[in-house]
Subunit: 517 residues, 3 copies
């Protein structure tokens, strides 16, 4: 082993000295070194995160046995363990956790020969991103000892943050190495946390379901990256016969769709409480139901032959969850949620049917999963609805809840009333000013996402990051040992299969050189 | 687009004027119009539901920010947000939600070429039915402003109601268009809500797990519809080679089975509280465990070759959950739950092995998923067990809980005792009278289900509803764009495949005409 | 039917009289009788369990309507139904339930022709084991009437106990009949309960996530059985082409992996409360995240071609959950959990890559799922970490929590302080003594597991237990009616297929005879 490592290291050093001219090594040797380095980079990234965690994290008081409040009886000022945050959040945290790992993971298995990568890279990427998000989110919320106090809320917020990266991954699915995804994710989470801090603390915007901060960010960031990756016309013109589904892969993808759909109410309601949580669950449930029906209907109406298209069913049925996200805990009324779902479902299917082909051919932005239709447009719609709701929000409709949803609308001096919670001191904003800030957050998020995405695209195309060639796209064979299904029943075509296998391998370097020139 | 719509509209008008004589249009054109209209009908149905929701729904007080109780501190009479119903129900609601969409959806994917329709139509139908059930359930519980107050309880009850429709869908799986399912569902939910109101408010019957109101209703309603659909001998004689499973489709179906089985305790316990909920979880857990073991054993004993039959494992392992449903929160004792599970498991497997072939050949009722064995007979069994338990229920065994389970058994005058909850004023029924009412509910539900099912069968066979021909049964190709799996590796048989594809399409009209004559 | 039963009974009697010499019966007849008897044994086992349940189980007070505490108002000393244990445990119980039935079940579907058996036998075995575990766990906790009071806690503990058996099943996957698994499980649960009682009550050891009592026990017990099953060189030398995965079966297995991974925090936190539960969730979440990343990295580094190996991704990503189990509620600090995850992930992948082939070839122990790498070594690691944490645990770090985690460390006389919970009277153990006991529990569990496993191996190879021949390993055809996938499209090879089918059947008796000699 150590010998092999030394040999590989030597080869890498050798390769670096020659600055990208691989002439002395054969192609399989180069690929071998690349894959080996990718593993090392991954391990190294985990160790870096560990160092940060050592330096910055502690348990939050209600998870910390060394905090005396957990020992002292409540009547003497201790915590009431019956109301430990683990009780309040565990349930919804676990639902969101399912969305991130099973939902997103299986949703992306629709490609016929990219199932291992879809569910596997989603797993790997999310597992890294939740650690990194705990840090990035935490840096904006350090305690007095400049430490990040970890609680179940941190885990929930980390899961939510990682969703942004997985959405971006959806735009790029099959076109990147996992190292490119990793580098992208590391940048994106940092941008995500900063933008959310800006939106929540400076613009004081309400976005319960993260439609602006998560969905708009994730979608347009990913599209920005994809624009850079595919701007090379030659690359996108390569006919790739693997970019399609099979009957079985489409059914695996439905596992993802259904689990995302079922647990989405928890995603939108997870970070709010009391009647806000209750309302968020009801609104999301209704928006998703009407969105599902509308997506089926519009798919049948606009698809040639008027049959359902699995891409619409797998994705557009979920758009209602995105579109109702920002306003989930606002007083949209049950029918309002249903209208939002109907509009989102129709918008999303029409996006797939009409807009995606245009964006691909005219703007040269390739969007594998169509995240623009599931997260991008519905996310912007959610932002607009949030602004609309903010503009008509009155004390009569929300009472004290108005200041819980939009703290900046609270008066600048405390008022003592027999209210739930302590009085909130705000900025005395009017409804229309708050609506303006809601719009501002959407615009700023959009701009940051696109700019940061494009820059990230150039970064992950730099020669130090492992890349893949267009011929190897949408193919598990590049990164996975595939089951030797011929082994059991040796076929006369065994030799052909091997040739076919090597076909996937060989042209990689050739094209990488093309890209880098 | 608008042009195409106009053209289609013109053709539809044309077709209507001619009253069903399609002579001027070719078959593919007619199918095209039918599929297009189906999409429009779906969209229209969603819009109708929206109108009702606008007219009738409001947030329940504990989900309504405009209700001052959410703002006032509990000591002044406000709601304690820690005990908002979202806290009490969210967990179990979410479990039931998984059963409806992942459980039922994947359970029905066992057919080899009907997986898209199984999980997709289940998704579509349930998404529409939960909205409609919110309305139908709500019409029996209007508040003083003739509005339906929506809470997490409404969502839970809507999910439970939609289960009845999905059970009926199981009997019909593969034999109807999705418009037929939709029409059936709209009628069935209305019948379901009325029957449940009758049973709960007039008969004052206890049915915690809905075995009578959901399972008996769903199964016999579906069988009634199926009787009408298949009464045309010619239709049922058509040899359909697609009515079978594949190795992969059977594994997808096991996802449904396992998720239904795991979350069933929440289904039976969802609408009760405290020690009743605790008992319902324990009883359902035990009944399902013993039912699973028994179903395996009886499958091995009664199947030729004494091997397990996947149909039994996928379905009969769940019968214990149905059979213990009515009595889930009653004092059946742990061993009683186990006995119920054993009887239900054996009954269900024997139903599949012996009864279903008879019902199919003698009564001419085709039951694709065998819902009679999973929901029908175990549901009736549950009703009988409920009556038995009611007949032996005493104050000594239940104390105040007796009146919570059977309010009609409470004395006709209030008694002040240091009890949980406020005193209940009832009808002073005796144990045997209550048992009689329990039996009455089973019989009435059975009759209503069968009659309403048969009537519904005739309705969905009427010419205004999109129908499918027997040749197109159990085939996703009718309603879905299937992945072009040949595209990647063009085969010499590509031409044959196309011919095969068109085979699925062409004969539809021919047979519809046969049916309508 | 009764006629067939009589005939079978006659044949069994006939066979017994002849004492194993099957000369008068043909092989298919013998297999038929064996399979029939297996079904009867299963049914009989369920009835035996029923008898025990009748004799010993009652509802726990907070699930028992006949307990007056559920009727009396809390201010008069009744139970507060808002804090019924169903509220405290339901959520996490349900998560663990998903791990047992969906997690373990689908994890084992990775074999290409053993999916029905993997998910089916897991279902059957677990359904029987949870009932048996309720009894075995309960015998050590009888109430004053020598009854076992059933609560949601009993169900949770039964689920956890069944995990040990499913781990052992992983080592044996594909090599046993389901009757052998059943017999093994019945013995293992009894051993499990005794060992856990010994560890908890006598050694007074803390093991929140059951890494010692569940994972070490399950893995080494299973390896002990496997050693006996495969000690016959001839058997293990049989080349079995079915011991491999397919692309689809690997994706089904990922369902298991992902659901185990997502809900593992609930497994480790399920049986503790308050800040301990909060900490256990955080620690397990972090350990699993870092373990996942590390397993991917180490898989890429150590696998030929530096591609990911699905076996590592499916299994080693979970090792962090095992390794952090014992110390999950201890003050390992967030970074400590991450370190544990990194070590476990690396250890587990290296185990698969390097150790398993050695153990198979040198020690002749075949381990189908590699439970040694996922549960065995990480479980021992967890035990060592638990001992380490115990050795450095002080009152300053844990306050009263120290005595909740390690009751034996509490002083021998009660101290009245304003603490949470009632004062605990312990044995006054020092930190190092407690650490010694933690180590002792690991060693004792290891020894008991190996010895009991080897003995159980001999028991399930005895002629009274239905066995399978090496040629039938990893093959669903032995125990399941497989879908007739040829039926739909009759192929020219139909005749060959039938011959192939009979090939699976015929040699079974031959080899059983070989084994028994």
């Amino acid at each position: 082993m150590i010998k092999r490592l030394q040999k590989n290291m030597y080869e890498i050093a050798f390769q670096i000295r020659r600055e990208g001219s691989y002439t002395s090594l054969t192609r399989p040797e180069i690929r071998n070194i690349e894959q080996f380095s990718a593993g090392l980079i991954l391990l190294f990234a985990q160790l870096i995160v560990l160092v940060f965690l050592i330096a910055f994290t502690v348990y939050a008081p209600d998870a910390d046995a060394s905090d005396l409040h957990n020992t002292i009886h409540p009547v003497y000022g201790g915590f009431d363990q019956k109301f430990n945050r683990i009780v309040k959040y565990h349930n919804l945290f676990q639902d969101v956790h399912v969305m991130i790992f099973a939902g997103f993971g299986f949703l992306m298995t629709f490609l016929r020969k990219y199932g291992f990568s879809a569910v596997g890279f989603n797993f790997l990427l999310a597992a890294m991103m939740i650690q990194w998000a705990i840090l990035c989110n935490g840096f904006f919320n350090l305690d007095e000892n400049t430490k990040i106090p970890l609680s179940i809320e941190s885990l929930l917020k980390a899961d939510v943050a990682s969703a942004a990266v997985l959405i971006s991954m959806g735009a790029l699915l099959g076109k990147t190495s996992y190292i490119q995804l990793l580098v992208m994710g590391v940048i994106e989470i940092a941008v995500f946390s900063s933008n959310m801090y800006l939106g929540s603390e400076f613009f004081k915007v309400s976005d319960a379901g993260g439609s602006i901060f998560v969905h708009v960010m994730g979608a347009y960031f990913g599209l920005g990256v994809s624009y850079v990756l595919c701007r090379n016309k030659k690359g996108s013109e390569v006919q790739n016969t693997l970019e399609g589904s099979s009957y079985t892969s489409d059914l695996f993808a439905m596992i993802g769709t259904i689990f995302l759909w079922m647990f989405w109410p928890s995603f939108n309601a997870g970070e709010v409480e009391g009647d806000d949580r209750h309302r968020a669950v009801i609104n999301t449930y209704l928006a998703l139901a009407s969105c599902c029906v509308t997506a089926f209907a519009v798919s049948a109406i606009f698809t040639p032959g008027h049959k359902f298209d699995m891409v619409h069913i797998q994705n557009s049925t979920l758009a209602g969850g995105v579109a109702v996200g920002t306003a989930a805990n606002m007083m949209v009324q049950p029918y309002g949620a249903v209208i939002i779902g109907i509009v989102a479902g129709a918008l999303s299917v029409l996006g797939y049917a009409k807009l995606t082909p245009l964006i691909n051919s005219k703007l040269n932005i390739h969007d594998t999963c169509g995240v623009h239709n599931l997260h991008g447009m519905p996310g912007v719609l959610a932002g607009l609805i949030g602004a609309l709701m903010a503009s008509i929000a009155t004390e009569d409709t929300y009472h004290h809840g108005l200041y819980e949803i939009w703290p900046a609308r609270a008066p600048t001096t405390a008022q003592h009333t027999p209210e739930v919670g302590s009085p909130i001191i705000g900025d005395g904003r009017s409804a229309s000013v708050q609506a303006g800030y809601q719009l501002l957050a959407v615009v700023v998020t959009l701009l940051i996402a696109i700019i940061a995405g494009v820059i990230t695209g150039f970064i992950i195309l730099s020669p130090v990051v492992t890349r893949i060639s267009p011929e190897n796209r949408y193919d598990d064979a590049l990164s996975w040992h595939l089951p030797d299904e011929e082994h059991a029943e040796p076929s006369p075509y065994a030799h052909d299969t091997e040739l076919n296998g090597s076909k996937h391998e060989s042209p990689s370097v050739l094209v990488i050189e093309e890209i880098s020139h």
